[in-house]
């Protein structure tokens, strides 16, 4: 045990520094007072089959099928994938491709459902009693319910719950830091459904086989902290609420672990190596619903905010609700927004098309006005080191950027490009407005592409060799067949010749006999 781990054990309230980080204007007050509200059924729901990291789900319904609320419509493929369920009852009107809620707007396999307005539940998953359920059964239920990390990473939660097989786990951290400005969905969820979150956390702790549950909340959410502190015991597990400073990116998994335990997760390793698993608060809520009531993940709380939207709100939206319907429900846009984002302003992704749907990882829809978005002109780097000071990963963004601009991607990755979490602190703090994190995102993509091309190169070689071997074998077989035929023909000819000779000999003998007689 190292010093920091010892310290955290001696003083449970202690919070460690993470190094770096920035203090953007949180602007959470825009939507923090708006209670979670339901939304009327939209006229169409577009449910993408790829809402998670991993392999896309396989559609198991067809056009014109009638589906019931909670019915499985997309089946997980492979170990890292997630089930997709119908968010309401209605008719499937298309199984095809539609623009993804992604900056590229590229098409993604999507099931389009026209709700029938009755919102009729189909058979739910069999309920589990977490008090007596086996850890495997809980993880299986979470997988069946299609639950993925709802903080935005969308990694299938069941895979994370099964980490107990490979690592010695001690602690479950519920990440409720919600460090992104504007977003208040987890805040509201904790204020209004604290008991459910605590129960979900305890269920996950049971599945993981850990004793220790920590809920990490930033200091700027006092109501949520009070609410969660009221529910400090669930399923016999003691739940500790720890407040962490309001600092972006506190909600990054590895940085949260550092702040709470003082331990640094090794580069490109899982926090499970430290015996810690981190799940989001909204994920805990979804687990509670799935295990206690057998309800799959078909809706989530979405913060609609920014000064570009008429009314800021927190909405319980069905998965597949088009962004345009959510905006319309909030009174529509006020003028043309400078930026329309899915997620928070620091790491959120711009979208071009308002008809794209809300998915399991969508925690916010932000319409930012010109005053809120930064559009200042880029100036030269003056090597002031502002980016280095705020980088929570201890990197040198200006150096990495210089290398990327010089097309030296290998050099950039040697200076730590792959350890960058793309939090955007460097770009935020740059006095010259240099798009640093944008360059890193580009470089990571380019490097990944190169890697896949390298892999393809090897595959090509294998294919070419296989083909050459096959052609050689075919030629060999042909030669053998030819030789065989030749031999056969020769044998036939020989036989015929022999027969002819015998005949001739017989004839000659007969003639001789005739002559003799």
């Amino acid at each position: 045990m190292n010093l920091s781990a010892l310290l955290s054990r001696l003083d449970p309230g202690r919070v460690f520094g993470i190094g770096g980080g920035v203090h953007p204007k949180t602007r959470k007050s825009l939507s923090a007072r708006a209670a979670i509200e339901p939304m009327p059924l939209p006229p169409l729901l577009r449910v993408p089959l790829q809402q998670h990291i991993g392999v896309e789900a396989e559609a198991i319904v067809q056009r014109d099928d009638l589906v019931l609320k909670g019915q499985l419509i997309g089946k997980a493929r492979g170990p890292v994938s997630a089930n997709i369920h119908a968010p309401t009852s209605g008719r499937v009107i298309a199984v095809g491709h539609f623009a993804a809620p992604h900056p590229s707007g590229l098409p993604v396999p999507t099931i389009t459902i026209r709700p029938d307005g009755e919102d009729r539940w189909g058979p739910r998953l069999p309920r589990l009693r977490p008090e007596t359920a086996a850890p495997d059964a809980i993880a299986a239920q979470v997988a069946a319910a299609g639950i993925v990390g709802m903080g935005g990473a969308t990694f299938p939660s069941a895979v994370k719950l099964n980490l107990r097989d490979r690592y010695a786990l001690e602690t479950l951290i519920i990440n409720a830091a919600e460090c992104e400005p504007y977003l208040t969905c987890d805040d509201r969820l904790m204020r209004e459904r604290a008991e459910e979150i605590a129960d979900g956390a305890a269920i996950m702790a049971k599945a993981l086989g850990v004793k220790d549950i920590l809920i990490a909340i930033e200091t700027n959410k006092p109501e949520a902290i009070t609410a969660m502190r009221l529910h400090d015991v669930a399923l016999g597990y003691k739940i500790r609420v720890k407040t962490v400073p309001t600092l972006y990116p506190m909600g990054s998994e590895k940085h949260l672990v550092k702040a709470l335990t003082g331990q640094e997760t090794p580069a490109r390793a899982l926090t499970a190596e430290l015996g810690i698993v981190v799940h989001n608060a909204a994920t805990a809520h979804a687990v509670h619903l799935a295990v206690r009531y057998g309800e799959p993940l078909i809706s989530r709380v979405v913060t609609v905010s920014g000064r570009g939207v008429a009314r800021q709100a927190n909405i319980q939206a069905l998965i597949g609700t088009p962004v345009s319907d959510l905006l319309a429900h909030c009174g529509g846009l006020v003028g043309e927004p400078e930026r329309l984002l899915l997620g928070g302003p620091m790491m959120g992704q711009p979208i071009q098309n308002q008809r794209v749907p809300v998915v399991k990882g969508t925690n916010g829809i932000l319409a930012l006005t010109k005053a809120e978005a930064r559009t200042d002109a880029v100036m030269p780097c003056i090597r002031c080191g502002s980016c280095v000071h705020v980088c929570p990963c201890g990197l040198m963004p200006f150096e990495m950027n210089a290398r990327i601009q010089a097309d030296d991607l290998e050099g950039a990755s040697k200076t730590g490009l792959m350890d960058c979490i793309a939090c955007g602190c460097c770009s935020f703090n740059c006095p010259s407005n240099i798009p640093l994190v944008q360059a890193f995102n580009f470089a990571k993509g380019r490097l990944a592409e190169r890697k896949s091309r390298e892999h393809q190169q090897q595959e090509t070689k294998r294919l070419a060799e296989a083909r050459q071997a096959r052609e050689a074998a075919v030629a060999e077989a042909k030669r053998a067949a030819m030789a065989k035929r030749k031999a056969e023909q020769a044998a036939k000819k020989k036989k015929a010749d022999e027969a002819k000779a015998a005949k001739a000999a017989a004839a000659a003998a007969a003639k001789a006999q005739e002559g003799a007689s």
Binding site: C381, E449, R450, Q457, T460, R467
Partner: protein, 186 residues
Amino acid sequence: MIEAALSMAALGLSLGLMLGFAARRFHVEAPAILQDIEEVLPGTNCGQCGFPGCRGAAEALAAGDAPVTLCPPGGRPLVVTLAEITGVEVPPAGGAGAVVEEAPLIAFIFEDHCTGCTKCFKRCPTDAIVGAAKQIHTVIWDACTGCDACVQVCPTEAIILRPKPRTLRNWYWDKPDEALGAGEAA
């Protein structure tokens, strides 16, 4: 008769011995580098480099007659590997003589024009085209190297090369257009 056979046998034997001796005596060791180079080349013998197959290209590279950027299907990763093997400097990307890092091309078959003649899939070095006689052929994207061989043999010009379509899996952000800031820094 017997003399003729004997003399021919003697001649054959002596010539054989001479050849065997010459092979041993004047043996030229194939440079080890040739083997290394041939190993990293794609081995599809597509001919885009202008040399007779990958072996020919390897020989030219080993002799220093060809630049390390000669193999278009290999792309930049191959350039780096070849430069390492041959000990030359990697040509800087974007500079003169550099391999232009284009989007990878793959073959695409216009099904309306395909007559099912099977010429292309007989020619494909990586078996990336599937089809049968009088059936429309199609290209397996993941196996296609964009080597152009099928385009050359198609009698109805039904095959073109086009950039590999972008999907959610291989999409990434464009390079931010801010050469100013970083250019000064570098």
